[in-house]
Amino acid sequence: MRLKFTPIAIHTVLLTYTAIALLPIALIIANAFKSRRAIFTDPLALPGPDSFSLRGFAKVLAVSDFELYFINSLTVTLVTLALVLLFAAMAAWALSEYAFRGRLFIGLVFAVGIMVPIRLGTVSILELMVALDLTNTLTALILVYTAQSLPLAIFILTEFIAQIPKDLKDAARCDGVSEIHIFFAIIVPLIRPAIATVAIFVMVPIWNDLWFPLILSPGEDTQTITLGVQQFIGQYVTDWNAVLASLTLAILPILALYLLLSRQLVRGLTAGAVK
């Protein structure tokens, strides 16, 4: 027998899930605007006239190099994003369009890359970065994140590129359009929604990562925001106001990027191309 779900049941499940997922974030934001005492006495309450306080934000902006962390995170995320999208789209195009020796092998390598967590290679990566004299640079992070994100990005984009009708590329070839122009002027605009999806997938884990910044670039000048926040978390005393405030601030840029990208997720872009 097939189970039938009513729209109400489906929405109940989805709304519950959304609430569970959003609650911690809502808590962080709400408590970031409260005094230290209010955070502990009633963590679930919204900031009221008595409990409202901007102390955490003031502290974060005054005491720490918050702007620097911010710029570091943003640099790493955006540069990685640009590299991943460019290389992944090109690789996906090559893998789905051209028959060449070793295509299957290269495809397999990328597939394996999706399955094997890059953190398993942390020690070798660190050794490599030391040898290349890249420790405590943003470059190290960018390289690692690019490598980490490429397999999945290629996988998703290959699927999308394969869906572009063959006639479209053939028409362009008859039109005398070179392969590189077919890629940039036809393929890329048509997979824009997929590129936006991939961008969101790629950017969030990079922005949130603590592991590699801690290991590869813990230096004063190269700390990312996740690492910067740690200075407020002590072994004995934690400045919760500052921690929550900085986390709240850290959400903003990624949220802005998400909103920007999600506007690209327009479907039906190929409508009208082929009957």
Partner: protein
Amino acid sequence: MPGVRLHNVSKSFGAEVVLKAVSLDIADGEFAVIVGPSGCGKSTLLRILAGLEAADAGDIEIGGHRVNDLAPAARHIAMVFQSYALYPHMNVYKNMAFGLKFSGLDAAEIDLRVDRAARMLQLEDLLMRKPRELSGGQRQRTAIGRAIVREPDVFLFDEPLSNLDAALRVNTRLEIARLHDTLAATMIYVTHDQIEAMTLADRIIVMNEGRVEQTGTPLELYRAPQNLFVAGFIGAPKMNFIGGDAAGGAGAETIGIRPEHLSVAPKGGDWNATVIAVEHLGSDTYVYAETETSALTMRNGPESTLKSGDKIMLEYDRAAVHRFDAGGQRIPR
């Protein structure tokens, strides 16, 4: 001399042999129509001509030059696809102009060509629209426009009208015929529509299972089909094939009689038959009848009063019979 020549062109996909040593000679300015059943290799032939697919063997010449190793753009061809294949993110103007940008033409010349094509195809008011905002016929005209602006030596059409409704088909067919008169370019046109083939073609090429069965003017093919396949394929309704005594009497294995050469005998006649269906098309009436041994189709005038169940006597015009031998080849008169 931008004629087109194929010499012993073969093509296989894996184990499947799609083209078997196809040779063709299409003159400069000729309108050649390739017809044949689905899967016989028409599109593949066109794609090989365009350079989108490589032939396994044989030579392809355009304008007297061997083009086997040239890229599509270097062959001076333009192809119109069955699916239109318009660039979905570009408006009509850009769809037509896009390819020209890479051919080294200056902007003024591109503008001129696009405008001229748009005027020819009545697309002037639609230039700023995206393909998804166009009707099927407008999309098709845009696709044709994109081919025209390249000013190619050879146009390749792959079933360009099959996605259009009947009325639009007739219009676009006439437009293509007019285009051929205006441009005087060589055109190679694939279709499985009989009427398109008969009306457009200077010469029809009938293909079957990767082979060319016969080429000739529409009337040549209609009047003197070289074998049973062509006889059955050209002409609608289909030619009647009759074996047995009637064929033996004519010195053939099989005889073919076109529906218009069958009639109801006033007296006497050749076969007793029962009418099983009648189709009134206005200008014509198709009568489907059954004799003891075979099913026959007869074309009558508009006034036919036959109805299904009628018992009739059929006779045929002896002078118009096509005779075929045991191998299915035509026996000359």
